[in-house]
């Protein structure tokens, strides 16, 4: 008996430890812990099956929305003998869209592994024109509300809508404001006198010596904006990293050792931020002007960085047939170069090289650094969904437990990324956000002849894209969607500061500073899967699918002849290029 009790006690302690540990999923009763009243299983109701990509954004909103939906449609008859509806969710990170026609799921909410266009071409999904063009929708038709820059990606090659955009995420850097405040890691304004000069091997810069000191204009080049004091150029960003390394107890860069491919997130973000929204849209459309690498000077890329050559650049006009040049963009070269520099200059936190450290561990480096096994780091390489994911996994509870302090005081910030290569001659540019999640909603094409489930699925999708649900989604998750809707001041106040800053930087009404996987040209329709930019896309995976440049930049093989590392920026950049012959395989003139 005593043994049994002892075993039970051990099991109970183990269970508690599991719950306390990071990675514990959302409340299993879902719905944010609220018990469902209307969305409950019943044989007398129509059953709708929804499969949902359960990534960093979670499913609390979806569960709550289903409850509201079931309540609103409780009296609707979709089939004889059934009144009302209930929604059954499958939340998973592995959605098989290849065999949709044989599956029972009615609605799919997917991430980047496929697109509405691909599914439409294969005949796997239903057209949504009646939902998208519905003029009776409160607030106006979805077509009038969808951002222009997302529409192309939601269509099949027959011009009909087959998908609707779900949430967005952007790759970049995140930091804890308290760390930056503690280290006074802000660039000072030119006319500021309260400064601390920092002579670095990469150039000299003035940092503020007090928090009240006036900060530089930042990447947007405008004073008194959110990005003041942030590096306006890659050159300044390198100096900032060196500043952390030389003068503070923080390692400059935190990266999850088991997710080192996350550097692809930040490379994507930097690529877009340096090139600007217009060039990135031209890139996806394979049409319009972009700036590409056209050879190399025999001079270092930056002061103190003599192993990467400065590229010669030229502007070219893309016209479909030369769309492969998009991968030669100068901005991509500099974004890759930054990560070679981070590697070779020792800016990574040591934990980045421990392959058992998860993405949560990487995040802990910036707010639990110095505690337990976590080393201190200042800037995190991650996508913008991480904050929501950490909340969902109850990681901030770990902070409260270990630090005995409220996690609400942690003031995280998604770093406005540099918009210039060099500080001298830098011109301010508005921030731009490249979506790397590429999530969307579609309805299974096998419902074509199933009146009951087809109508239920359409009603559900209509409901999810109603004005109130769009707002509810953002309030719950902090994340935006490529649709024109506003939040009231009260709703905005509910967002964590991390997401509130992004929401305020983003053009929420027209999406002018958003880059989505979308285009209007024939070239886009033909080649999008080869020029797509996301975590594991071919455009960022040298030598092998799903890889990242991280492992190449680690290699130390030196080439005396070129004065560069064998697997350095130039090699990786060249490897990622699409050749003219390769382009001919995927693109044909109409």
């Amino acid at each position: 008996m005593k043994i049994k009790k002892g075993l039970a006690l051990i099991l109970a302690i183990c269970s508690m430890a599991t719950f306390a540990s990071c990675g514990f999923d959302e409340d299993s009763s879902s719905n944010g812990g609220v018990k469902n009243v209307y969305n409950v299983e019943s044989k007398t109701k129509t059953k709708l099956q929804v499969i949902h990509f359960d990534g960093g954004v979670g499913h609390i909103w979806l569960d709550q929305a289903a409850e509201r939906f079931a309540k609103q449609y409780k009296d609707k008859v979709y089939a004889k003998g059934k009144t009302g509806i209930w929604v059954d969710f499958t939340n998973t990170m592995t959605i098989d869209t290849a065999t949709m026609s044989q599956q029972d799921y009615d609605v799919y909410i997917c991430e980047r592994f496929t697109t509405p266009n691909a599914l439409a071409q294969g005949g796997s999904v239903l057209p949504l024109d009646d939902i998208v063009k519905d003029e009776t929708r409160e607030g106006g038709s979805l077509e009038s509300k969808l951002f222009e820059q997302v529409k192309g990606g939601m269509k099949g090659n027959d011009g009909k809508y087959y998908g609707l955009p779900h949430y967005e995420s952007y790759g970049g850097f995140s930091y804890l404001t308290q760390t930056f405040d503690e280290c006074l890691a802000y660039f000072a304004a030119e006319d500021e006198t309260n400064i601390e000069e920092f002579p670095s091997a990469y150039g000299t810069a003035n940092f503020v010596s007090t928090l009240e000191a006036k900060r530089s204009n930042g990447p947007d080049g405008k004073p008194d904006t959110e990005d003041d004091g942030m590096p306006c150029s890659i050159e300044e960003l390198i100096i900032l990293m060196d500043y952390f390394k030389q003068t503070t107890p923080y390692a400059p860069i935190a990266l999850s050792g088991s997710c080192d491919n996350y550097i692809n997130y930040t490379i994507s973000g930097l690529w877009a931020s340096l090139a600007g929204a217009e060039q990135m849209r031209n890139y996806y459309n394979c049409e319009g002007e972009i700036e590409i690498v056209d050879g190399y000077y025999d001079e270092p890329l930056f002061k103190g960085i003599d192993y990467i050559k400065k590229p010669k650049t030229k502007k070219v006009q893309l016209n479909g047939s030369n769309g492969y040049l998009g991968n030669d963009m100068v901005a991509k070269y500099y974004a890759l170069a930054l990560f070679e520099i981070i590697q070779k200059e020792g800016f990574y936190c040591d934990d980045a090289y421990i392959s058992t450290r998860s993405h949560y561990d990487g995040q802990f480096n910036i707010y639990l650094g110095g505690t337990g096994i976590y080393k201190k780091a200042a800037i995190l390489v991650e996508a913008s969904y991480w904050h929501n994911e950490a909340k969902k996994a109850k990681c901030f509870d770990q902070y409260e437990l270990l630090k005995q302090a409220s996690a609400d005081n942690l003031d995280f910030c998604f770093m406005p990324l540099p918009t210039n290569y060099y500080t001298e001659g830098a011109t301010g540019k508005d921030s731009c956000f490249l979506d790397i999640s590429q999530t969307f909603t579609v309805i299974n094409g096998n419902l074509k002849n199933n009146d009951e489930e087809r109508e239920a699925a359409k009603d559900f999708v209509r409901f999810l894209y109603s004005e109130s649900e769009l707002k509810a989604f953002t309030v719950e998750t902090g994340i935006g969607r490529a649709i024109d809707y506003d939040l009231s001041a009260e709703e905005e106040a509910k967002l964590p500061t991390f997401y509130r800053r992004i929401w305020n930087s983003r053009d929420n009404n027209a999406g002018s500073n958003l880059i989505m996987l979308s285009g209007t040209t024939s070239a886009f329709r033909q080649v999008w899967s080869s020029i797509n930019i996301h975590l594991s896309s071919d455009t960022l995976s040298p030598y092998a699918k799903n890889s990242s440049p991280f492992s190449h930049f680690r290699k130390q093989d030196w080439d005396d002849k070129s004065g560069m590392y064998v697997y350095g920026t130039k090699t990786v950049f060249d490897e990622l290029k699409i050749t003219k012959d390769e382009w001919a395989k995927i693109y044909r003139e109409e």
Partner: protein, 323 residues
């Protein structure tokens, strides 16, 4: 008499018919499964190797063209690339290690256990334990041992930053993964060899002992020849696995690939066959589309099948005899 004989025949006929029904019902699922998952699958895969799917630009669906050996040309280019060479090298090293070290040791250990020498029961449990525990659990456990535990211990001897064995260099990573494969695979080998050795007739061994053979001779002249068919099976299946074995890399790294790009065909192909709805169509980068992969699969079959069959024949012909 005749009537009795006819009735007996009828009765036998009924029994025969019902037996036939039983056999048919028993075999039908197998035959259906064979037709769908072997005949149809391979047939469509062979057809796919000669096709090219092109997305329609101004409408739904796609156009399918017969492209003869174009996909095979791409597949050959890949097979002769440095990357494929490296992957083949890794697989061959794994195979050689399994063949020479694992098999030799497994034979000795199996003999030790089959002879019920001291602590043989304990060895059996210890050696077989990694096979009982889920491969994923073993991999995670191993990953922590060679990373965090190793760092913890090694750091006490130096002030330098210590990296885990999977994270410090390509050679270290490959060797660490190789050792894991040996560790995990060893138990299964021992289990099967021990099982086969246990079935050997004791009187045969006793008569050999009466003739004065020592333990080593007993193993070499009696045990190995008698378990030789099992040995052949291991060697031949290992050979067919050169292009399919994923070396537990997926268990360690999921879809993202190893830290230093240690790769083998099995793991590489798995990653390539992701993104099903996209990969039907040609991609800019070669070897990503299903038709190209099908062509590659066919080429590999044409390479491996004769080698395997010849090896088997040769081993059967020139292998040791119990005489």
């Amino acid at each position: 008499m005749e009537i009795v004989g006819t009735e007996k025949k009828k009765k036998m006929g009924k029994i025969h018919a019902s037996r036939m029904k039983f056999y048919v019902l028993m075999f039908l699922p197998l035959i259906i499964q064979f037709l769908i998952f072997y005949v149809y699958l391979n047939f469509s895969s062979i057809v796919l190797a000669f096709q090219k799917y092109t997305k329609n630009i101004n409408g739904l669906g796609h156009t399918v063209d017969f492209v003869w050996f174009k996909n095979f040309a791409t597949a050959f280019d890949f097979l002769f690339s440095a990357r494929a060479g490296e992957m083949l090298g890794n697989s061959l090293i794994l195979y050689a290690v399994n063949l020479i070290i694992v098999t030799s040791l497994a034979l000795f250990f199996s003999y030790y256990i089959a002879k019920k020498y001291m602590l043989s029961g304990l060895f059996r449990v210890i050696l077989y334990l990694p096979t009982i525990v889920s491969g994923t659990v073993m991999a995670i456990l191993y990953q922590y041992i060679v990373t965090d535990v190793y760092i913890g211990i090694a750091s006490t001897f130096t002030d330098e930053v210590v990296l885990g064995l999977l994270d410090s260099s390509k050679t270290s990573e490959f060797l660490t993964i190789l050792i894991f494969n040996v560790w995990v695979g060893f138990g299964a080998n021992v289990m099967i060899y021990t099982g086969t050795m246990s079935g050997i007739n004791e009187s045969l061994v006793e008569s050999a002992q009466l003739e004065g053979v020592n333990s080593l001779q007993e193993l070499w002249y009696i045990y190995i020849p008698l378990i030789y068919p099992t040995l052949i099976t291991f060697i031949v299946t290992g050979m067919t696995g050169i292009f399919t074995n994923q070396m537990s890399l997926f268990t360690f790294y999921g879809q993202t690939g190893s830290n230093f790009e240690v790769d083998v065909f099995g793991y590489y192909f798995y990653r390539l066959t992701q993104d099903a709805s996209v990969n039907l169509y040609p991609q800019a980068k070669p070897m990503y589309s299903y038709p190209e992969l099908s062509a590659l699969g066919l080429i590999i079959t044409l390479i491996v099948a004769p080698i395997t069959l010849i090896t088997r024949k040769l081993m059967e012909k020139y292998g040791p005899s119990v005489d």
